[in-house]
Every structure is written in structure tokens, then in C-alpha cells.
Symmetry: C2
Subunit: 153 residues, 2 copies
DNA sequence: CTATACTCTACTAAGTCAATAGAGATTTGT
DNA sequence: ACAAATCTCTATTGACTTAGTAGAGTATAG
């Protein structure tokens, strides 16, 4: 049931960008160092998040990344779905990545009915947690005194 | 966030065994045909479930598999954990498969705190659903009239 | 015009997944 | 004792995914 390292890195990067939303763009290098993420790998991930439309970039000397919309409008569900695929434990209960499974009769499948509940539980949380809320949690977890650029996520 | 085909097959097999708990052992072949699971693959999975202690087997002509304990005492959580590993989306919030993650400070990690909630939600469901309850659901989903051996899961 | 930073495409080593294969061990019925 | 059915153990394989790495190219500030 695990998400990949790639997905986790994406969330960590978005959190950094969320904490710097009202500031300037943030360089890949900076995120990479702050979060212990291999730089070239992070590059790919950010390009991917750009294709999703949640981040935007500026090239050149003063370049970097920033959120493309306010952190309130970036849900974890959207990000994880884009990077990882279905939130559901089995594809036959996924709304957006539905695939027929090999069981004899899906409509009477008991496993399916349990997995549907699991899916609902996961979705309910991840659809309702935004990058903005994650930023709030960061502030609660480490107090308000720190300089935003030093936030340890 | 998906579980593997292997895990799904394991659950389907256990459900068949649950429905036949008070009867004789069930042959691999029978489960395989009823559930569209490749026989040699299912063999491996059942051996694996045996090592977990939830099923037992009899060899030879009248051989087959059965549940090693009443279906009320086999939770989906235990099965999935054994086949798949952690139920948690990230290992740093897993109770039984804990692994340190690469983020700068785990205790102050906002992602971790969200993933903890996700884990709790998943565990809450899967720890409380047993094979017995799955069997109940099967009966509800397809009515009581059918011959147990014909149950379509 | 140059240093800095993002971008695009390709590659790869290691690991996992979903089987498949073959030979062996056990049990029941005759 | 023997045959047939069934589980068991160990190995292998092909396809795919993951987590990076690499190199050449493009845009921008100063």
C-alpha cells in the first residue's frame, strides 16, 4: 500500500514551495539540499508537477519554481493521483483509474465492497488536505519563530 | 497505493476457504478455476499463507487446503501485511515495518502527520474486517439460495 | 556575453511482479 | 505394494517499474 519515493519527494517539494508561496521562486538546488532529494531526480519530478499545472517555473539566473496557484487549491489527492496513479487499493474500485478485475462477478464481490470502504477513507483524507494545510501543520509542529527559509519539513 | 495481484488472489482464496470452513478441504485446482487464478501461482500464495498460519493443508489424493482457524479470527490486515508489507503509505508511519525516512526531521514532518491519519483510517477498516465478515457479505450480496460451492466471489 | 538555472531526451542498474517449470514427497484407495 | 492425485520445494524467466544518472540544449539577469 506504499506510495513511491517519487511521490513522497513531490509532496516534500510542494511543501517547500507552499512555505515560500508569497516570496520569490525557489531553486531546485535549494529544495534538493533542504530535503535531501537527489537534484536531477527532483528536476524530473518538478517537470512532472508542472505538467499537472500545480507549479510553474522561471528559467535563467534568477530562476526557480513556485506554486502555480494558491496552496489552498492544491490537494494531496491530486498530486498523488498524478504521480502514483489510483488511490484505491484495487483498480476495480477506482473512480478515475477503473479497470475490470479478474474476479467472476464484480458486482457481487465481497473484497471489492471492503476495498471500496478503504478507498473512501483514503480519499476523504487526501482530497481534503491541501498544501496550505500542510504548511499550517509545519508551523504548528515547529513554532512560529523560525525563518521561513529554514523550515525543517 | 495499490495492493498487488498476489495480495488480491490471497484474499479471494481465503474467501473460498472461509465459505467452505465447516466442510472438507478444498483443492488448489478448484479455487483456481472458481477464481480465475493461475494454479501454479496460487500454489505459491497458499504456501505463503500457510507460513502465516492462517491455512493448513492435507496432501495426497483427498488433499487440499482449509482455514487453520475459524474465519472470525482471520483479519484482512494480517493477511495483507504478510503478503504486501506495510499498510501505511510511507514506512515512517508504519508500526510493524517502520523505517526512517530521508526527511530532515521526522518528528516535525507535516507529511508524516497526514500519512499517519491515512494509515489509521486504513488500519481501522482492515483490522476489523475478518474472513467471516467477508463471507457474510458474500451471502448478502448474492442471496442465501445458492449452493455454497457455487458461490461467485 | 557569461554564468546560472531550468528543459528535454535518453539511458541504466537493481529490484519487483506475475507467473512458469520440474522434480520430489505424501496420502488414499485398490 | 502400487498408482494416481495432490501438495511442496527450489529455480528461473520475461516484462515492467523504480530511482536514479548523464549530456546537450535553452532561456534569462546582470
Amino acid at each position: 500500500m506504499k506510495i513511491s519515493v517519487r511521490g513522497e519527494y513531490a509532496l516534500r517539494a510542494l511543501l517547500v514551495l507552499g512555505l515560500n508561496y508569497d516570496r520569490d521562486v525557489v531553486r531546485i538546488q535549494t529544495i534538493s539540499e533542504q530535503q535531501n532529494i537527489p537534484k536531477r531526480f527532483l528536476e524530473q519530478i518538478l517537470t512532472d508537477l508542472k505538467s499537472l499545472g500545480v507549479v510553474e517555473s522561471r528559467r535563467g539566473v534568477a530562476g526557480g519554481y513556485r506554486l502555480a496557484r494558491p496552496p489552498e487549491f492544491v490537494t494531496l489527492a491530486a498530486v498523488i493521483r498524478h504521480i502514483e496513479g489510483p488511490l484505491a487499493p484495487v483498480s476495480c474500485v477506482s473512480e478515475r483509474f477503473y479497470e475490470k478485475c479478474s474476479c467472476p462477478d464484480e458486482s457481487k464481490c465481497a473484497i471489492r465492497s471492503v476495498m471500496k470502504e478503504v478507498r473512501e477513507a483514503i480519499v476523504k483524507i487526501l482530497e481534503n488536505v491541501t498544501v496550505a494545510q500542510m504548511c499550517e501543520r509545519v508551523k504548528l509542529l515547529q513554532g512560529e519563530h523560525t525563518n521561513p527559509l529554514d523550515y525543517v519539513i
